[in-house]
Each structure stands twice: as structure tokens, then as C-alpha cells.
Symmetry: D3
Subunit: 68 residues, 6 copies
């Protein structure tokens, strides 16, 4: 009965990509740990880039710099 | 000083239901563990059904199938 | 398919108390939100009192002061 | 490679305040634990006041009472 | 810069299985979202079966019943 | 009433360092957001290096390589 929480930035993640994340993470539990997929939860949190920091920087700023 | 995090799907949870979740979870800490309610936090996360998976399936799809 | 995470300090919580927390939190989801208990997860994290702070203080110190 | 998650109520937190939270939390990891800031993540979750409870009360109600 | 948290029961997960979970979850972020693996974190929490509940039951009890 | 969760690897973090993390994170909430420290929680999770991955690698292996 694994619970997998995926936190990613909220940058146009599509419905199809979410499906693939859910399927892939569930399959990983089945393949590696022989878990029952029927009781495997995957929860995806999409986080605004203003609310995520790395290396002292706000991701919003890192994205803007990367575009220049 | 317990911290309780309740993750549920974002499906029209009412203000009154949230109150009951907060009161019930706090009372549980008082009844079972004799905790101080004044320092008991309850945080409810409502998750979009596109972002929650179980048994390889996206909950949005499970809800659509259940309606048919 | 709720997921409830209960974080409490690691202070001699008994097996029986854990059962009551699991049953009570699950029942709350059934009573308030009409959720299916079979897909309701409850996970209890017991945190060392050295690792929990409130009001600038380490809980270990608060417990020691309370005993005096 | 620390991961810091800051949960606060969603009450007009400014972009500038978020920057300061990210910088301050990252600096804390560098100062206290000599961690590499380049692999230090800070994620801020802003929670609706309807979804946060303390002492049996919904924060929305506590804020309304405090204004009176 | 995804952060993936995998919560599983603490039932003799091997070092090799942990490696596979870390590699598989990281690869999923690369394949589906084109994320940079160098800033992809995977954190595995192993939870005692006394501390995990599903369907009102403690997992420890479910395991004991399953063995009979 | 902020809740701050700090996840770090379990590598000989001292009691004194934990105090500094708790004090520093609480002070950050007071300084930046004018929060009440009495209802500010800080919870530190120490994660075994076998259970933390970055860039496909288990941190235990990264530490061993760094020593060579």
C-alpha cells in the first residue's frame, strides 16, 4: 500500500503527462517491491514557481534568466 | 502538539465538512493521546482529481466510469 | 481515497493507541465525507522530541521544564 | 541536499516575502549544517484559511473574531 | 527540480530495491517531464506496520491474517 | 501558525544543531511574516542516506565516492 507524492513546478503539465506519472510510479512499486497496484496511491502536487526555491533563487527568476 | 494532514480529492467539500474534519481530528488527539487542542494543527489539502491516482488510474477517469 | 498523516511526538505511544488513531481517523472520513474506508490510508509518524520545536523551544526541553 | 517545506496560511504573502523565506531557509542550512545551497530546495505551501485548524477552530473564524 | 516522496511499509526493503526505486522515479521525471536528474530528489520513508492503517485495520494485523 | 518541515540526511546532526534549526526557522517566520512563534512548529526529519537519492544516485554512494 505505497503512497507516492510527486512535487513538481506548475508549468503546463498536461493531463496525459499526469497519467504517465501515475502509471509509471505505480508500475515501479509493482516491479521493484511486488506491491498491489489497487492500493497504491500517487498524488501530484503542482507548485507555483514563485513558491519553489533552489540555490537561494526563486524558480520564477531562474526560468526568466534561462530564457535570456 | 500534533500535526494532522488530511489529503482528499477536491470534490465540493463544504465549509461545514471542513469544520467537522478539523473538530473530529482534534478531538481524536485529545481522546486517544490526551494532547492539548490549543497546539493541535489540522491542515486539509484538496487535490484535483487529475492529480490523484489509484490502481494505475486517474481518479477523474474512475469518477467518469462510476457515473456510467 | 483519503490519506491522513498524523505527526506526533515519540513518547510511548502504545499499539492500542495507534489502533484507535487509525480507526478514529478512518471513521471521520466515512462520517463526514462518505469515503470508502477500504481506500483510506492513515500513516502515523512518531517524531523524536529533539526534532520537534514550538515557540523557539525544543520539545525535549519543554518536557523537562514541565516536570520540575 | 536538504528539503524544507514551509506551510503557511494563504493571506496575501508577497513575492518579496517568498524570496526572503527561500533565502533565509537556505542560509539556515548553510550556516548550521554546512549544506550546499545549490542542492537545497525550499517549497512554500499556501493553505486557504478554511483548510487550517487550530484548537478546534477554523483559522477563517479566528481571523474574523480577531478583527472584532 | 522534482521532489518525490515514497512512503512504504518497513518490511525488509533491501539496499538494491532502494536503488531501483531511486533510479526508476528519477527516470520517470526525465522521460515524462524532461526534468534535470541532477536536481531530482527521491526520499523513501519506511513506516512501521504498526503505524500504517488501511480500511480501519493496522497493517501488522493484516499481515498476520494473511499468513494464516 | 506556520508548520516547517526540514528533511535532511541522518549524518550526525547534533542536539545543538537541531536547536539552531528550530530557532532559526521560527525566527524567519517572525521576521518575514510577523507570525506568532508560540504557534510555529518546526519538525526535523532525519533520513538515512540509503533512502535519499539525487541524480539517480543513492546518497550513501555519493558520500563514499567523495571520500576517495
Amino acid at each position: 500500500m505505497p503512497y507516492i507524492n510527486i512535487k513538481i513546478t506548475d508549468e503546463n503539465v498536461t493531463r496525459e503527462q499526469k497519467e504517465k506519472l501515475i502509471q509509471g510510479a505505480t508500475q515501479l512499486m509493482v516491479d521493484v517491491l511486488d506491491k498491489n497496484p489497487q492500493t497504491t496511491f500517487v498524488v501530484i502536487d503542482e507548485v507555483n514557481t514563485d513558491n519553489w526555491g533552489i540555490g537561494y533563487d526563486v524558480v520564477t527568476d531562474l526560468r526568466a534568466k534561462a530564457k535570456k
